[in-house]
């Protein structure tokens, strides 16, 4: 009875709700609840200016989160994204300010530097079999050190390249649609997220990343060249970290070589809150973006309510633990 064993209609769709999707929905509800709460109880929260501030604060963490989402779904981790971001910003600074080259070279240079560093991490993990945690911990220090060395430990300003402002604070969209003052950095975050989401769900790269994260050995025994895809995954992560480097340095109008440490943890927190499993094989980019928004809404909301800044860090910690608990809880039920 082949006809009864195969039903690709509605039943298929309903069975398709994964725990990651469910948790993404949970995260989304939490985000809405937070917005409603602060909107009601924090007087100056729901203003246009504050909303733009929140978005701007989300852009860097959101892009870094998307970067590391690739690696985490593949079953790995990348601790070097924060300092890699800084190194790519310094790279852009050297190309644009020190060498005086035009903007596109700076953009390509930053992304290429990130992708290269990521590929190196991936190579040590895939070929030398160094655990991702250790390999990227090493890369975190290497990138931090190189950023300081190349910049001679001094900020590099982009005063000679006024167009650099286009990468974050300027709002190009407001010229097209007046009244929507969304800064370019935020637009870039959304574009990166949409492209990444398509890559993860629609392309062979994404399919491979999910397969690696679900069962690397089965993938290898299916004749898949596991090492090659792993290196590519880390390279993608590095390249996107480069985009984060461009956004952060554009906003500060300078590449700050001492910056970066700690950004990786915020990004990983956003990924986890967004429902991506740290054990690999499950996750979504949109979840990560929601996770990043939850973090910045909290920070901002608490500040607007007059709560001491440092409490935000405590609350973020609690949220991470709760998010992982929800993940475990949903998985047990599934």
């Amino acid at each position: 009875m082949t006809d009864t064993t195969l039903d690709t209609g509605k039943a298929a769709k309903s069975g398709f709700v994964t725990t990651a999707a469910l948790q993404k929905a949970v995260a989304f509800v939490v985000l809405i609840a937070l917005l409603a709460f602060f909107g009601l109880f924090a007087p100056n929260f729901a203003t246009g200016g504050n909303m733009v501030g929140i978005m701007q604060a989300t852009a860097v963490n959101g892009v870094l989160g998307v970067a590391v989402t690739f690696v985490i779904i593949s079953g790995g981790i990348d601790l070097s994204i924060g300092t890699m971001m800084t190194l790519t910003a310094v790279t852009a600074g050297i190309i644009l300010t020190n060498l005086g080259m035009p903007l596109p070279f700076g953009i390509i240079g930053a992304i290429a530097a990130g992708a290269f560093m990521g590929a190196v991490s991936g190579w040590t993990i895939a070929n030398l079999k160094i655990p991702p945690f250790i390999a990227t911990l090493g890369m975190m220090q290497i990138a931090r050190g190189l950023a300081l060395v190349f910049s001679e430990a001094k900020p590099i300003y982009f005063n000679d390249t006024p167009s650099y402002q286009l990468l974050s604070p300027v709002s190009s969209i407001s010229a097209l649609i007046p009244g929507i003052e969304v800064p370019n950095g935020v637009m870039i975050m959304f574009i990166v997220a949409i492209i990444s989401s398509v890559v993860l769900t629609r392309t062979i790269v994404g399919r491979m990343i999910f397969a690696l994260g679900s069962n690397e050995e089965a993938a290898r025994l299916s004749g898949i060249k596991v090492n090659r895809w792993k290196i590519l995954t880390y390279a993608i992560c590095g390249g996107i970290s480069g985009i984060a480097g461009l956004i952060v340095s554009s906003r500060l109008n300078s590449a700050q070589p001492a910056l970066g440490l700690g950004y990786e943890l915020d990004a990983i927190a956003a990924v986890v809150i967004g429902g991506t499993s740290l054990s690999g094989g499950r996750g979504t980019v949109m979840g990560t973006i929601i996770g990043a928004f939850i973090m910045s809404v909290l920070t901002n909301g608490l500040r607007v309510m007059g709560v001491q800044e440092e409490w935000k860090i405590v609350v973020t910690g609690v949220i991470i633990i709760v998010a992982v608990f929800i993940d475990i809880f949903l998985r047990k039920k599934a």
Partner: protein
Amino acid sequence: MNETTANAPPVVEMRGIEKSFPGVRALQSVRFDLRAGEVHALMGENGAGKSTLMKILTGVYQPDGGEILVDGRSVALRTPQAAQALGISIIHQELFLMNHLSAAQNIFIGREPSKGLGIFVDEAKMKRDAAAIFRRMKVEIDPAGEVGHMTVARQQLVEIAKALSYDARVLVMDEPTSALNETEVEHLFAVIDDLKANGVGIVYITHKMDEVKRIADRVTVMRDGQYIDTLPAASTPMSTVIQLMVGRELADQHRATGQGTADEVLRVTGLNRGKAVRDVSFSLNKGEILGFAGLMGAGRTEVARAIFGADPIDSGEIRVHGQVQRIASPADAVENGIAYLSEDRKHFGLVTGMSVRDNVTMASWGRFMQGGFMQDAALGKVAEDYVRKLKVKTPHIHQETRLLSGGNQQKVVIAKWLLRDCDILIFDEPTRGIDVGAKAEIYRLLEELAAGGKAIIVISSELPEVLRLSHRIAVMCEGRITGELNGRTATQEDIMTLATQRANAA
């Protein structure tokens, strides 16, 4: 066997032992006894119930019925500790030692001698006591030496020393020589002879006939969870033991149908990989089903993994369709049309968290993209095709494969390789974890595949399965092929004889 042990009363006696697991009657009214100072070999095919019986004797499992007597008194062995307290210890096939601790620390783990008001561990006393036990065993092992740095043979001796430190009078050894070389085996036998002389009774689980001849006093044979017979080891011909182990009538058993062609697709020559695969050579023809029989640990899976490029080989030549091929990775093997279907589908065969569609198409994803994008509609169509062809029971192709039954999971894996156009299929225990009804279906599927021109290798520990499917049977023992049999005429006895034939004893 000498006179004194023959007349001594048993240290341990097990009577009418019953044990069931969900869906399986593992032991039915089994009896067994052991005298002080004897080596009592326990033999039987995989799954005969030897291990279950010994787990009951050592307090790991509780029997559903029956009685255990130690020194003539009925006892309840509720935990391994209770068994140990009565002097019953087991040396497992897989050793349970802590690699980073010293020999002495391992021996006294959990009951370290203390000093200074019981706060500090008395390392010196521990070392002295361990050294004393090693002296008694007449072995030279440094009590302070880290166990992880020792050979398997020495680690085993540490385990034996640990058992002796509990004043063991009954020692169960589960295939103790499976990882030892000739010299180490002789050394172990010397230790066993010594233990015997000191009145320790030893239950010796093994598959190797020559070892039984060498050290055992009596042999007890089990089959299908039942006690068959106990015989004196010295005067019983080994062919009798094999016959008792195999037992079943084969007269009306279904045999392989059809036959392979003369078209050779795979030839392996002089394949070596460590101790697991030694000088293995064989060929495989189009349309043929070649069975690989042997006992657990004979090296069959290792041969398959080596051919498939999953493990690196030391030497050997692999010809596919007459051409010598260098196969360094599974990707190379798949390029050459070789597929390996592991017995452990959950870990090595399927990405269980992914859908039926993605698992079926996984090895062929490269074919289903356009400009980097996956052609999901096309993937779905071929997946549905195969689901229909192989009659995979799944509500839809988006079902995660972990939710399918064993038989249907196996079909998904088969579909994956058929879609990839692999024409050499290596099945490792194709029906493990699959229920009886689905088994027959898998057998039919394999026969259809062979009839359709695929070349198939079936590795199986179940003799009836090997005989049911194979046109030709290669039997392995200790990494070597000890013989090839015609699938139509071979008997279980023939296979068992070859499977227990050590190369040097032959």
